[in-house]
């Protein structure tokens, strides 16, 4: 729906031959300003990252002698390869499981709806606005009691639970809108609920599932609170969690801190640029539904 509206906004543009009306020009100027403000923090980090290591450069200045190897230094000294691996493993531990059980529950609540499931759905929905800080303290003691403190599972397992409200809300909303004839046809064919789920429902739900996976990946990759509380060793954390530790480590070396930050934010930005359409649709719809 959002994607359609977006392309609608795009296609309703004026033909290139006609001169742009004043409104369009002023709109473009405003947008250009916003884009500039959005990009400025990255530009200044980039300019600082190219200054000689250990110096205190001015905010914006093309360095006369750009120190590209600051990026290499930051990569090595932060052990970015290990961090990338750790973040990827955590995301791989969270997203497939959370998407699978969230989709299953969304289907169960929308299509099978056993008696009493309304209460369960309400319980899930109540979790939609839960700030993670609200439960971080007991989560610490719980994870410690499970013997998982300082392992990747300390981040993976709670995140799966924390993502359930949105995942179920999202997938249930999708399944509720799937016309009943589809599943009825499958039922007549004698398909069990399990077969119906995999053979009929999941294929139709693919776009919704993809959006959900994208959002969960982003949230996991960028998660900060859980890693810093539940995992002491920065290298076992997510990228974002490790960045907090590096700020302490490099706080005084602005060029290296900026180079390291740019490296750390690069993976999601690159993924975003590649899958731009899917990301924008997921983020917009995610906000609307969440």
């Amino acid at each position: 729906m959002t994607e359609a509206a977006l392309s609608g906004a795009v296609s309703r543009r004026h033909s290139p031959a006609a001169p742009l009306p004043v409104g369009a020009i002023s709109a473009r100027i405003i947008l250009l300003g916003l884009m500039l403000v959005t990009l400025m923090p990255f530009v200044t980090m980039f300019s600082a990252a190219l200054a000689p290591s250990g110096t205190y450069p001015p905010g914006l200045q093309w360095p006369s002698n750009p120190q590209w190897q600051n990026f290499a230094d930051a990569f090595v000294s932060a052990k970015m390869d290990k961090l990338l691996l750790s973040s990827t493993l955590i995301a791989l531990g969270v997203v497939p499981v959370a998407v699978l059980i969230g989709t299953m529950a969304g289907f169960g609540l929308a299509k099978l709806a056993p008696r009493g499931s309304k209460v369960i759905y309400l319980l899930f929905v109540l979790g939609l606005t839960l700030p993670f800080e609200g439960i971080i303290t007991p989560l610490y003691y719980e994870v410690r009691a499970m013997g998982l403190l300082n392992t990747k599972f300390a981040i993976i397992l709670p995140l799966i639970g924390l993502y359930m409200p949105f995942s179920i809300f999202w997938m249930r909303a999708h399944f509720v809108n799937v016309p009943a004839e589809m599943s009825e046809a499958a039922e007549i064919d004698g398909a069990s609920a399990w077969q119906q789920f995999w053979l009929v429902q999941v294929p139709i739900a693919r776009p919704a599932i993809l959006s959900l996976a994208i959002l969960q990946f982003l949230w996991t990759w960028n998660q900060f609170l859980l890693p810093i509380v539940l995992v002491e060793i920065p290298l076992e954390r997510t990228m974002a969690g490790a960045l907090g530790a590096f700020q302490g480590q490099w706080g005084t070396n602005i060029p290296l801190l900026c180079a390291g930050s740019l490296i750390i934010l690069a993976p999601t930005v690159i993924l975003f640029l590649v899958f731009q359409k899917q990301f924008v649709a997921a983020l917009l719809q995610g906000a609307v539904k969440g």
Partner: protein, 306 residues
């Protein structure tokens, strides 16, 4: 979980039509998700409430203290300031992005075309995909004493007011607010731009024929038409402000003094640095309730009429 299997058993005996097997399968679909949710969300929420009644250092024996922790959280001036900081952040996180987003949406209406539109969309979304921690570091550098903000001020002849913004007693909280506004600006703008494109263009044409002023157009067509999108923006940004943590942790650490300390940061500090688990949990419960109390009316106001 025992209650579920209890309901399950009842249902099995009561529904001959779908059969016990059907209900069992239905619950099998829901149960894995609920198990994770119960273990890592519902139980901790319950524990937060329980801890909030204790005086406990996290190691030794806990003492039952009733509601006294809540009394401290809701009456001591430091805590009131910390809760107040969160509400002050709402002003920046919510009002700036929504106001700018509305302005841009009304100006752009239907003019966001072609490659420029795609570029704008892409760039404005970047703050949404980077870790908030990175946004915090970038803006710490923007606000540094020789950062871009001060450079720009000097350029326009305001060199007199330059300072290290995040370390300034009066300006640290607004500076943190600006960071949040920057993060949320793109999302709100794109939501509102997308929303305004859905409003029937004939409404605007009719208004033009009637000689309506731009303000009237905005007040009577744009605002009502965007009601739902505005509701979404306000909900998302209010939660982001009240539950802020990452940005503050990185940009100021809550300082100077407690000028920028927010509930999330104070919970973290009380629980893990000061080992006052009871007090931390009371603040956590207050924060959870506060978010729900603020979000529910927004939802009612903006969703029901549709």
């Amino acid at each position: 979980m025992t209650s579920i299997s209890g309901q399950n058993a009842q249902r099995v005996s009561r529904s001959p039509s779908s059969g016990g097997r059907g209900t069992f399968v239905a619950w099998a679909f829901i149960l894995p998700a609920f198990a994770f949710y119960a273990t890592f969300v519902l139980v901790p929420v319950g524990m937060s409430i329980y801890y909030s009644l204790l005086r406990w250092d996290g190691i030794g024996k806990a003492q039952f203290r009733g509601l006294s922790n809540y009394l401290v959280v809701l009456s001591e001036s430091d805590f009131l300031q910390i809760l107040g900081n969160a509400f002050q952040l709402v002003v920046y996180f919510t009002v700036i992005p929504v106001a700018i987003g509305l302005g841009v949406a009304s100006a752009i209406r239907n003019h966001l075309g072609g490659r420029f539109g795609v570029a704008a969309r892409t760039i404005l979304f970047i703050p949404q995909v980077i870790p908030l921690v990175a946004a915090g570091i970038a803006w710490t550098w923007m606000f540094a004493s020789n950062g871009v903000v001060n450079q720009a001020l000097q350029l326009i002849g305001l060199g007199g007011i330059t300072r290290g913004w995040l370390g300034d007693f009066d300006f640290a909280l607004p500076a943190v607010g600006v960071i949040g506004a920057w993060v949320l600006l793109g999302l709100c703008t794109m939501l509102l731009v997308t929303g305004i494109a859905r409003i029937d263009p004939s409404l605007y044409e009719a208004a033009k024929i009637d000689g309506a002023s731009p303000w009237h157009e905005f007040r009577w067509i744009t605002l009502p038409g965007l009601r739902q999108e505005i509701g979404v923006c306000v909900t998302v940004t209010v939660i982001a402000a009240l539950a802020s943590f990452d940005i503050v942790y990185i940009a100021t650490g809550g300082g100077p003094g407690i000028q920028t300390t927010v509930p999330g940061l104070e919970i973290y500090r009380l629980a893990f640095a000061h080992r006052q688990v009871g007090l931390a949990s009371a603040l956590a419960v207050v924060l959870m309730v506060l978010v729900i109390v603020c979000v529910l009316p927004i939802q009612w106001l903006t969703r029901q009429p549709k």
